[in-house]
Amino acid sequence: MLSPYNYLTTLKESKGMTPQALDVLEHQFHLESHNVFTRYGYWLWQGLHGNLGFSFKYNVPVASLIWERVFNTLLLTGTALVISWGIAIPLGSLAAVKRDTWIDRIVGFVSFFGLSMPIVFLSLVMLLVAAKTGWFPLGQIHDEVNWDRFTALQKVSDTLWHLFLPAIAMGVISMGQYMRQMRGEMIETLSQDYIRTARAKGLSEWRIVFRHAVGNAINPLISLFGISLAYLLAGAVLTETIFSWPGMGQLTFQALQDKDEPLVMASVVLLTLMLVAGSVVSDLLLAFIDPRIRLEGR
């Protein structure tokens, strides 16, 4: 049942391609072998040597296609990450400090909203807002017409303007989980003995929360950092498709539909590397921030 088609199937059906030309292409792309493992072995060998191959469709090295997209995707997911953590940590702490009040309830509702909102739907709603109000552009990463005439400052502000809605959509989706986590950790921290000591010393509530509690409550969340990057990168396919954001998600999905195998392979490898790097970074960050973990190994 495996799909028997490859990139050349469509070319073979089209007119204007001589059998010789097809043959050349077949050898060039190493599609002559129908054994998947042979082809995989060839790809792996080349990949280990830093050669990710040529894109079938665009006929340029895959790496040159991907780099620009990597930057765009990281810009989008990075902003979304900042938004989601920037909202989640203050609100989660606030909910813990004001536990069982109306503030706590509102924050609880907001986090459930974020957890339950499908990214597809929220992105479409954002697009609808842009279409109805006209305040925001309908997708794309920057103004196609005037881009070349912009000054550097205009370029930055134009990109930020285009970035706003997709980043908000992705940020809101991922914030719910961290908000709840932060609230839980904070409640636990506030019941610790050293907080009672700090209160007994007569410190202001403000100082207790920010100086003594937040720093300790945040530690367990740092190990979630890698996972949150993974969710964002994976979810980016949908947001990028809806907002025509020229990122890796859009590129990979298009490549999948075109059966452009080298491109798909390269971008999935790169994404996986980014995920692993994300969790390494969060482990290192945790060790950097939390002396207990840093000193354990000594």
Binding site: M1, L2, S3, P4, Y5, F112, F113, L115, S116, M117, P118, I119, V120, F121, L124, V125, L127, L128, A131, K132, L138, G139, A230, L233, A234, G235, V237, L238, T241, I242, T252, F253, L256, Q257, K259, V264, S267, V268, L271, T272, L275, V276, S279, V280, D283
Partner: protein
């Protein structure tokens, strides 16, 4: 990067408290009930008569959000089963001349032309003359009224492949039309398609979680109980699956199977692919539980009786993980629902003319103009949101109710 999770080897000398992830606090139903301190004073009268399930249920009943979730889900799933009866049209009934008709929910009248109260009715639909009026659209044809009739005949349908009928809960006589939530590009009724779509979108959650729970329990149970090479290999497989960006992996698997599949085939394919990713999380959780359960005396007793390992795992250990498994299952249902939505939205899931909440939304993505002028095509999104929210409420409530540490 991270050390291998509980590399216990084949030795059985692991102390029960040494299991990571804090799972050791939930050894089995029996101990949950007996050991759980504090709050027991409140539910003492219940306590002896009740099974652990009863205790969970009585706690769950006090949780308003969880009960709300349960009622919403009961309603949605019941509607999905009897979709054919409740929906006035079939999911593929087209009225091409009436594409993108706005919702009629607010256009059901109870006062007739002369101001007298009448039985609820809708007016006929007339396409406006775009040149004379300057816009394209529809208006009410006041010369034709169509009373809303209950239990009227219409398109044929079947409920669970068994009950075949053509009697619908409500409808209007032809040539009148009733589009409660508006119509789509081909003049198909959005309300009917949402109901039919719920059959697919909601059942994917249940079927998917059942499959991955079965795989997860088997592999996680074996890995936890047998340890050694089985444990090592299966846990490395779990880590590989969890390390891959899931949506990409799903898309690649889906593309590997080509695109000319029948609707049943693509439904099964989606469920299998989602479960293929989903079992990893479940297996890891169950393995952690089994690691602590296998130190219990009853397992020793079963071993002393000479039962086979498979029998001990399947009949003695796994049943004790059940309460926890059910909580995990409830919490992870949204993954399957959202997975189907994502695939169908991207056009590689459920194919037209079959309806699913995901592929109905993909109409909005085709053109920003559709989205702007005909916003009601986003209606399926509201239903996805409600369903996922209800599952989250229920899962959260169940987790609190089954957790002996929660004394709320």
């Amino acid at each position: 990067m991270t050390e291998p999770i509980g590399d216990s080897g084949s030795s059985s000398s692991l102390p029960p408290g040494a299991v990571a992830d804090g799972l050791a606090v939930l050894p089995s139903d029996a101990t949950v009930e007996v050991v759980s301190p504090g709050g027991l004073g409140l539910i003492a009268p219940f306590h002896f008569a009740s099974s652990p399930w009863r205790a969970v249920w009585s706690k769950l009943r006090q949780n308003k959000a969880a009960m709300l979730g349960l009622y919403i889900l009961a309603t949605l799933y019941a509607l999905a089963v009897i979709a054919g009866f409740v929906a006035p049209y079939s999911y593929q009934t087209q009225h091409d001349q009436f594409g993108f008709h706005p919702p009629m929910l607010t256009r059901i009248h109870i006062f007739d032309q002369s101001g007298r109260i009448a039985r609820p009715f809708v007016y006929g639909i007339r396409v406006v003359d775009p040149i004379a009026k300057g816009y394209r659209g529809y208006e009410e044809d006041h010369t034709a009224t169509y009373p809303i009739r209950l239990f009227c005949h219409g398109d044929k349908y079947s409920i669970l492949w068994v009950v075949r009928s053509d009697i619908h809960l409500f409808g209007v006589n032809a040539p009148g039309l009733i589009y409660l939530f508006g119509s789509d590009l081909f003049g198909r009724d959005t309300f009917s398609r949402i109901l039919y779509g719920s059959q697919i979108s909601l059942s994917v959650g249940i079927v998917g979680i059942l499959i991955s729970m079965a795989i997860g329990m088997l592999i996680g149970g074996m890995a936890g109980y047998l340890g050694g090479a089985v444990d090592f290999v299966s846990m490395r497989a779990v880590e590989v699956i969890l390390a891959l960006p899931s949506l990409y992996f799903i898309l690649i698997l889906r593309e590997a199977f080509g695109s000319n599949l029948s609707s049943t085939q693509s439904y099964l394919l989606i469920v299998i692919i989602l479960s293929f990713i989903g079992w990893a999380t479940e297996a890891r959780v169950i393995r952690g539980m089994v690691l602590s359960l296998r130190e219990q005396e009853y397992v020793l007793a079963a071993e002393a009786l000479g039962y086979s390992r498979t029998r001990i795992v399947v009949k003695h250990i796994l049943p004790n993980t059940l309460s926890f498994v059910i909580v995990t299952a409830t919490v992870s249902v949204p993954f399957y629902i959202l997975g189907e939505v994502a695939l169908s939205f991207l056009g590689v899931g459920i194919q037209e003319p079959e309806a699913s909440w995901g592929n109905m939304l993909s109409l909005a993505e085709q053109s920003a103009q559709y989205l702007q002028d005909f916003s009601w095509i986003l209606a399926p999104g509201v239903f996805i949101f409600i369903a996922v929210m209800a599952w989250n409420f229920l899962g959260d409530g169940l987790r609190d109710a089954a957790d002996p540490r929660s004394l709320r």
